[in-house]
């Protein structure tokens, strides 16, 4: 199985953390808070699209809100396949990083 890309990985983790309220604007806010950069909608949608296509996230319809001009939210949730992929990439990260002390990076 191919590994997730960095942005896909981050978006996926964010969705997992947001639990039931993972939709476009919320994801963007959370990303801003955690990474310190303001992601463009375009880059988030791109990641979301590929994740949906790969079957790592599932789309569902949330309740409409006034802020959205009366439109429904489109909620994302991580699928079992997505969780598996996250586990795998986490393992890969740990393995790759292991044995490298912080001093070596200086």
């Amino acid at each position: 199985m191919k590994l997730l890309s960095r942005s896909e990985e981050i978006v996926l983790i964010t969705i997992l953390k947001l639990q039931d309220d993972a939709y476009g604007v919320a994801i963007r806010k959370k990303l801003h808070a955690e990474t310190g950069t303001l992601w463009s909608f375009g880059s988030i949608y791109t990641a979301l699209n590929t994740l949906t296509q790969k079957g790592f996230v599932k789309k569902s319809r949330g309740e409409p809100t006034a802020e959205r001009g009366g439109r429904h939210k489109c909620l994302y949730a991580v699928s079992p396949g997505g969780k598996k992929a996250l586990k795998k990439i986490k393992k890969v990260h740990e393995k790759v990083w292991s044995g490298l002390s912080d001093i070596a990076l200086d």
């Binding site: 939709y23 476009g24 604007v25 463009s40 949608y45 939210k73």
Partner: protein
């Protein structure tokens, strides 16, 4: 207040709408929501202005994704239509081939004619100041006296610069050991390059032709003479009427474009002529018309005003008070709008013929387009079910129109490709038809080529648009039931189109018949002289002219030669005129007659087998050394002279007697009535040698004459023309028109038949069951054939009735331009009508007979 605020918190409607256009349909909903929410937050944080700005940025960012979506989306769409179209084309091979072939032939013809027409129209437009260049014409001639150009420049501030040139000659050119002949030699004065845009590659445009004995060569000529050597400063020897002379090359000019009225290879300084031993100031005065005058009009001046001052100006210059018929003509009008002038610098075309050619091109294209529309609409009925089902399934009208347009575009593209291939192979044939001085190449003007392809494309869309809209407009409920809706109405339009096609074809056939009838008449009419088996040799060579008598004797020694005559012109082209004076007792004031004349020798009348009706031919024993004239019957009649023989005639200071009267003969082409003609005896002044030869062993005779020529000539190669070729040459544009009509009439008929064949096949196919049932009920084969064919033949008859009056009108107008012409008989119309009907019948019958003969059992089992 509060409500308004919340209203204001939505992004602007327009922006939202625009953004929605850019998003994919299935995603727009979600994204617009996200954007609106983010917008509101932005609004709360930073205020409305930056929020709107942010929203705008989002729109701009969406563009690339939108563009790529659109692109791939339309590719898929196109692919779908393409597949559908290809399937459709291959399912109906016959019709597809008919359609493509018809369109291809039509477009190919159109393409070639357009290239030719645009070439003719482009004449002389390459000059920088083309719109300001004028030429002066005088009394129906393109030539003027020599002093005109400098005088114009001096007298009129409106004239920026004026130039003159003259050139009809070809001379022998020597460079070292090499000799060259056949390059066009032009005498041009020093302002030549100031008026015309003929850029010099080397040399100074203002000085190159200033000094005597200097020449400017075109690049091609320079290359021919000097090869890779630098031509500047080289000396060439020129063998003209005044013996050999040296010329220094002072400039090399770029080759003259094909579409230039002024053609030449070598331009020599005009002044050189004044240094010749034979220089006669009289020839260079106001009384002699032999040089072309062009001038550049100052910006903002009116050529008409200038023209108004000519009479006074010429009176002042010459001191003569008479009707000075001088006028200006635009350089850009010279090639196409001056057929009425004589003595052109190079052959001209007639804008009327260009118009006719353009009309033919459009007609052919129209016929091809009509075929296409007819066949497609007819075939549409077979696709009712397809359209119906597509509609029921949810296809929108626009989608259907797009699909059908796609099909017609595919077909047009195929036809275009085929047309280019066809045109590529047919262009030599076309060049033969138009008999242009310069054969045109298919890829001469690529810009035009691109425009034509675009035009072909538009034709495809247009001829596809009607069937597309027509088919997409069916109501699905009616279609599914398979009845063809609105059939009669559409069929009527089809019928009208076919009738129009045939009317055009019949018109072209009639024109062809009459044109070839008139040409046959011209070629075979008794001219009053003979033109068969006569060689015409132009005596460029001074050595030959000086030894005329000996040359004639030598040539006559050949058994294949029966007579030799030297004159200034030949009988069919006696178009120079001069005044001849006579004694008029009754009215001494009125004592001259303007007559065309030719200077001839003793053998002229006999060689051309002209008939002397009174008096006698010139005879050496009697007439040598004195002035003698032969007039034609026309003059005798005009002057009312019962017996002109022995009367005195004066011409150019010479007094002589009329020795005979020649029977009227055609001294010019058939457009012009026979007029006054005087033959002036001048045995040693001619420069055209006519040689009457026997019809056997022509090559041997030619070789013998050439041998004599080479013995006497100063190096000029022997060249000749046959007189009957020259005669045909006079009717070049008529012959060309006749040929064009011939070919295009055939083409039009072919295209009509193609269309008719398609419609007939369709009718037969549609009526398969009907035919079978009729047969079962006892209809005979001839009856069935008649039933199936009659409707088509009927159209042709109606087309005849439409075409005849129109054809009569145009043909009559054309024939009126000939003084000597054939009458328009009914036979032309009948022949055209009957042959069109016959061709149509043969086309249709091929299909109908087959259908009528078919076994009804097969057809009835068919569904």
């Amino acid at each position: 207040m509060k409500k308004r605020r919340s209203e204001n918190r939505k992004p602007a409607r327009v922006l939202e709408w625009i953004l929605a256009r850019f998003l994919r349909e299935d995603e727009a909903y979600e994204k617009l929501g996200d954007f609106e929410e983010a917008y509101r937050e932005f609004l709360a944080d930073r205020g409305p202005l930056s929020a709107a700005g942010w929203y705008l940025v989002q729109i701009v960012r969406a563009v690339p994704a939108f563009a790529s979506n659109f692109y791939f989306g339309s590719i898929t769409m196109f692919k779908n239509y393409f597949t559908a179209a290809v399937r459709n084309l291959t399912r109906k091979k016959t019709y597809s081939v008919l359609n493509i072939l018809g369109l291809a032939v039509g477009i190919a013809a159109f393409l070639m004619i357009s290239i030719y027409v645009s070439f003719e129209l482009s004449y002389d437009r390459f000059h920088e100041n083309a719109e300001r260049i004028f030429t002066v014409v005088s009394g129906g001639q393109a030539v003027t006296p020599v002093p005109l150009a400098p005088a114009l420049m001096q007298e009129f501030p409106e004239v920026e610069v004026a130039t003159r040139f003259q050139g009809l000659g070809q001379y022998l050119i020597r460079y070292k050991e090499k000799t060259f002949f056949g390059d066009r030699w032009i005498w041009a004065d020093e302002h030549f390059f100031d008026v015309f845009t003929f850029p010099l590659v080397s040399g100074d445009e203002h000085k190159a032709l200033k000094n005597p004995n200097s020449v400017v060569l075109t690049e091609a000529t320079a290359q021919k003479y000097f090869g890779s050597e630098n031509p500047m400063g080289k000396v060439i020897q020129w063998g003209g009427s005044d013996g050999e002379r040296d010329f220094i090359v002072t400039g090399v000019m770029r080759d003259i474009p094909d579409n230039s009225h002024i053609k030449g290879d070598i331009f020599a300084s005009f002044k050189t002529q004044t240094t010749f031993p034979s220089y006669d100031p009289e020839n260079f005065g106001w009384g002699n018309y032999w040089c072309h005058t062009f001038f550049l009009l100052r910006e903002g001046s009116n050529p008409q005003d200038l023209q108004g001052k000519y009479s006074e100006f010429l009176e002042g210059q010459t001191g003569q008070k008479r009707n000075w018929d001088y006028s200006n003509k635009r350089l850009t009008d010279l090639h196409l709008r001056s057929v009425d002038l004589i003595f052109h610098a190079s052959p001209v075309s007639d804008v009327r013929y260009i118009a006719i050619f353009s009309a033919i091109a459009l007609i052919i294209l129209l016929i091809a387009g009509v075929n296409y529309v007819n066949l497609t609409t007819a075939l549409a009925s077979r696709r009712f079910q397809e359209v119906g089902i597509r509609k029921v399934v949810g296809a929108q009208r626009v989608q259907l129109v797009r699909q059908f347009l796609g099909e017609s575009l595919l077909l047009t593209f195929l036809a275009l490709a085929a047309a280019i291939v066809l045109a590529y192979f047919l262009i030599p044939v076309f060049n033969n038809i138009i008999q242009s001085d310069q054969p045109i190449g298919l890829f001469r003007d690529l810009k035009l080529f691109a425009a034509l392809l675009l035009a072909g494309l538009i034709l495809g869309v247009l001829s596809g648009a009607y069937p597309a809209v027509f088919m997409a407009g069916f109501a699905p409920s009616g279609i599914i039931k398979s009845a063809s809706p609105a059939k009669s109405k559409k069929a009527r339009l089809r019928n009208l189109l076919v009738i129009a096609q045939f009317a055009i074809s019949i018109f072209l056939i009639i024109s062809t018949l009459v044109a070839s009838g008139q040409l046959h008449f011209i070629r075979n009419k008794k001219l009053g002289f003979t033109k068969d088996h006569i060689l015409v040799v132009t005596l460029w060579d001074t050595n030959i002219r000086e030894n005329l008598y000996a040359v004639k004797q030598e040539i006559l020694k050949n058994p294949g030669v029966s007579r030799v005559s030297v004159s200034t012109t030949i009988p069919m082209k006696i178009d120079w005129h001069n005044s001849f004076y006579y004694r008029n007792e009754e009215d001494p004031e009125n004592n001259h007659i303007n007559s065309h004349y030719a200077r001839v020798d003793y053998d002229f009348v006999d060689l051309f087998e002209m008939e002397i009706v009174k008096g006698r031919n010139f005879r050496k024993e009697i007439d040598e050394g004195r002035a003698a004239f032969i007039i034609n019957e026309f003059i005798a009649r005009k002057l009312g002279w019962e017996d002109p023989v022995g009367r005195a005639f004066h011409n150019q200071g010479r007094t002589g007697t009329i020795v005979g009267v020649v029977k009227d003969f055609h001294n010019e082409n058939m457009h012009i009535p026979i007029g006054e003609v005087t033959l002036v005896l001048a045995p040693d002044q001619g420069w055209l040698m006519s040689v009457k030869i026997e019809s056997e062993n022509i090559p041997r005779t030619l070789a013998a004459i050439e041998k004599v020529w080479n013995e006497f000539s100063g190096g000029y190669p022997f060249s000749y023309e046959f007189m009957d070729d020259r005669y045909d040459q006079m009717y070049k544009s008529e012959i060309r028109l006749g040929k064009a009509f011939n070919y295009f009439a055939v083409l039009a008929v072919f295209l009509c038949c193609l269309g008719l064949f398609g419609l007939a096949s369709f009718r037969v196919e549609q009526g398969t069951k009907e035919i079978a049932i009729r047969k079962v009920m006892g209809a005979s084969v001839p009856e069935l054939v008649r039933m199936l064919s009659w409707q088509f033949i009927k159209w042709v008859f109606i087309a005849n009735l439409l075409a005849w009056p129109v054809a009569y009108y145009f043909i009559n107008a054309w024939l009126q331009s000939f003084v000597y012409r054939i009458g328009i008989g009914w036979i032309f119309f009948l022949t055209a009508g009957v042959s069109a009907a016959a061709i149509a019948f043969l086309t249709v019958i091929a299909r109908t007979v087959k259908a009528a003969l078919a076994n009804p059992a097969d057809s009835l089992r068919y569904e």
